[in-house]
Symmetry: C2
Subunit: 284 residues, 2 copies
């Protein structure tokens, strides 16, 4: 691991943006009328992470449609919006920018798998874990962690990783991707009595920091990579504990996951086109 990951993650973002631009250009050449679109459902104002996503969409050439619900909206209202977007043929991807408390299994599974560019539905997670990875959309945040680790110098095989406070589709997908790269992965909650031991045993610590306390620096092995997912998932980004970290590798996880999300939207629109073509052929 290196102290400064700026250039590393920036080149990863650059690569993904470049590839997606070209893919989109090829699609637009044969289908000039098509405007691939990401729909974002949010509660409340734009935040930092939303700005990063919108900037990434602009860079690649994607449209963004924002559905802003009031802060006090209900689960039913969110599902209603999702069902409407499922039927909207202009929309090729749906991103729920909502707090964890809204992301119940019913909400996540309401998204049509073809438009689930964040990989939060049961079917998508099953596809990613069992199929070819092109079959389903893997959580972009999990993908971003892998991209970051892959660009470090040290090989991952046989290394220990721990996921602290990570839950749901992100936890399952991340655990799978890390294990698939030969790592031994443990998970734990912030309240676990094994937390200190598991962190001290780990070469890679991935954490979702719901509080603002941070990890005591004495818990971290020299050279450990610490990746805080907060900047890729949450409204408030608490970087108050940054100076205490020995090796902070999470600078890029927000922009990287945004870039991967947009790549999924481009792929989704290409698949949609292929399906349309297949259907018009089979109708002849």
């Amino acid at each position: 691991p290196r102290k400064n990951d700026g250039p590393l993650y920036e080149s990863a973002v650059g690569d993904i943006v470049q590839r997606s631009r070209e893919e989109l250009k090829a699609i637009r050449e044969t289908n000039p009328g098509l405007k691939p679109t990401l729909a974002i459902i949010q509660a409340g104002e734009d935040d930092n992470l939303l700005e990063v996503n919108k900037k990434m969409a602009r860079k690649i050439g994607l449209n963004v449609m924002q559905i802003c619900l009031p802060d006090q909206c209900t689960e039913e209202e969110v599902i209603e919006e999702i069902l409407r977007l499922n039927e909207d043929s202009l929309v090729h991807g749906i991103f729920l920018h909502l707090s964890q408390s809204f992301l119940s299994r019913s909400v996540c599974n309401a998204i049509k798998p073809q438009k689930d560019v964040d990989g939060v539905s049961d079917l998508n997670v099953g596809r990613v874990l069992l199929g070819d990875q092109r079959d389903g959309f893997a959580s972009p945040v999990a993908g971003a962690v892998l991209e970051l680790l892959a660009r470090h110098d040290a090989p991952l095989v046989g290394k220990m990783a721990v996921l602290v406070g990570v839950k749901g589709p992100l936890k399952v997908t991340l655990q799978f991707l890390l294990q698939n790269n030969g790592m031994i992965v443990q998970t734990c909650q912030w309240s676990s009595k094994h937390l200190q031991k598991q962190i001290m045993d780990s070469d890679v610590v991935v954490l979702l920091d719901t509080g603002h306390k941070g990890l005591p620096p004495t818990w971290l092995r020299p050279g450990v990579a610490v990746i805080n997912l907060g900047s890729a998932l949450m409204e408030e980004h608490c970087d108050s504990w940054e100076p205490r970290m020995e090796a902070k590798s999470d600078a890029g996880v927000g922009p990287l996951s945004a870039a991967l999300r947009m790549q999924h939207v481009v792929r989704s629109s290409r698949r949609w086109l292929e399906e349309q073509e297949y259907q018009s052929w089979s109708l002849r």
Copy 2:
């Protein structure tokens, strides 16, 4: 771990059979016409494992329908049978008793999730990993391994397990269930150069033995639990290496997984009934 697991696994099988009989009896009391049925697609003759499954169905009171395809059948023929059984309202579960080479992702995903009592489809695996475990059917073979381990004396938290030569939905589900019980799980192929080290580090070794070589006894820690899944998955059960094992815990995995499979058929038929009732209510 104990040398003789006979009584242990037999009581687990007995508990599941007892519970399923009662559940089925309750269903039949309100729906005397219903005959919950497991359909088995097989290529070739009945083998040992099939006999175990049929006996378990009889004990619980389930019907069994066998579809016997020729040994040389194609993937398309298997899928055709599955699609027919998906539409057959008499069938509440589908079990593919076929060699691994037939169990491609397209074959597994052809099964309607509601009838996928073996938990081989992408959606079912996603549901098991993300939802309440009642949402989806977890692989009965994975469930059987957990039942066996849970009945040993030693707690599982913090223990090391390795899955050797296990693949697909079974691997993913088993890895998840073991990790969910606090174990640290590694997986490897028989050809892996890390095989010996991983086995020597493990408290639990779960293996699918495609060859007939067995593990050198010197590789096994004292007190290790070794579970061979062959008897739950394959036609030929190679117990030639049994005497060489220090602690063999796999005696029950065949009958236990059969019992769990039948429990899933009973649950599937109950869910189907609930759905019928819901539909007839909503039609009024």
